[in-house]
Amino acid sequence: ELKVEQNPLFLSMQEGKNYTIYCNYSTTSDRLYWYRQDPGKSLESLFVLLSNGAVKQEGRLMASLDTKARLSTLHITAAVHDLSATYFCAVDSWETSGSRLTFGEGTQLTVNP
């Protein structure tokens, strides 16, 4: 059974600071996703990471994937209040009938002025 663990689960940080969210998973997978969810809203796709060493950046967020370590990171640079949200990683375990995502618990990020 695939398990996905995120840490920290809660993160409070000041504007302008840097921080990293970690996503560990238990079985081999070459596809990992990061999503953002604002309170009471749906999930918005941030990144799709497809191979070992993949790195993607969008604004102040950068995601990377190390399939050998079964680890993905989401790095936040110079945080701003608008980044406050819950961030989920999800790992794909492909079946013959299609893609199946297993989600981490989520990291609730609060960026304080």
Partner: protein
């Protein structure tokens, strides 16, 4: 957005009653998914569909059934609702055409079972 709507958006029901949630998409995506979101669990896959009339179970399928009679609609049924099924339910879709593709999520349905 992938043109995904869910109905109803909010529902309160009583234990033991049947409930059907509907997911409708306008993008002609092949794959459709139902997840539930609960505090401390992230999102968990209930059932998914890989084509019309083709469905498979996810990790928390007990107490739920699904049907997909046409590409655009994926129905989730709670045959006899229980309080443990109080949750937020999300539908998602994907084309499955490219490896780069993500799943697109609907707005969610909040279900309260009393």
């Amino acid at each position: 957005d992938a043109g995904i709507t869910q109905s109803p958006r909010h529902k309160v029901t009583e234990t033991g009653t049947p409930v059907t949630l509907r997911c409708h998409q306008t993008e002609n995506h092949r794959y459709m998914y139902w997840y539930r979101q609960d505090p401390g669990h992230g999102l968990r896959l209930i059932h998914y569909s890989y084509g019309v009339k083709d469905t498979d179970k996810g990790e928390v399928s007990d107490g739920y059934s699904v049907s997909r009679s046409k590409t655009e609609d994926f129905l989730l049924t709670l045959e006899s609702a229980t309080s443990s099924q109080t949750s937020v339910y999300f539908c998602a879709t994907s084309t499955g055409i490219t490896l780069q593709e993500t799943q697109y999520f609907g707005p969610g349905t909040r279900l309260l079972v009393l």
